[in-house]
Symmetry: C2
Subunit: 118 residues, 2 copies
């Protein structure tokens, strides 16, 4: 799809009928694909597992950067991807921002791929 990149609001609702329930519309395919793309990176998978491990308290950029051996700029980039996909919840606490996983969003995405699973 290099045919111009559509940018789309994903932070909102959770989208779409199941992929197995009939042919997907272009719009729905795009939305699902963009959310999956947000997850489709090794660093972001590790990031997600770290964020999940931190529970509802959340984790900060710095801590993740140290753990993953990456610069804060890079971690910020990845957190942005996940946040824009609606998979993270961020809460400010003074100068810090604590990121937690939005398990409902993750579940919704998963359910689009395999509705029979749940």
């Amino acid at each position: 799809m290099p045919r111009s990149l559509p940018t789309i609001e994903l932070s909102g609702a959770l989208c779409c009928p199941p992929v197995a329930a009939g042919v997907v519309s272009d719009a729905d395919a795009l939305e699902v694909a963009l959310r999956l793309k947000a997850l489709a990176d090794p660093v972001r998978i590790k990031l997600l597992s770290l964020v999940l491990a931190a529970g509802s308290v959340g984790v900060r950029n710095v801590d993740l950067a140290r753990e993953l051996q990456l610069t804060d700029a890079t971690v910020s980039h990845h957190l942005g991807q996940l946040s824009r996909a609606g998979l993270l919840l961020a809460t400010r606490q003074g100068a810090s921002i604590y990121y937690a996983a939005d398990r409902r969003a993750l579940g919704a995405l998963v359910r689009v791929l395999d509705p029979e699973c749940c």
Copy 2:
């Protein structure tokens, strides 16, 4: 991690402890990410829905190309991505190849992301 691209055998087993079950190893993160990457494209989502709709019979490259308004070369590329990720089953029939979805593989991938779902 553009620091060189690792290529990995994915057609095989289905991999990995759940992402929510603790911090993921580098190898597991890579495997999950690569499988997700195979799905993280609007065309491939539509492709998957078409293949799923065809059931166990399967669909041919040509039919998909016509449906998606893409060249057979492009469809071949996408089918390759999905196949290499172990998400498709291909059966030859004369000059044609029929592609069907491997629902077990899809389910396994989904379960890594949200084990509580199943």
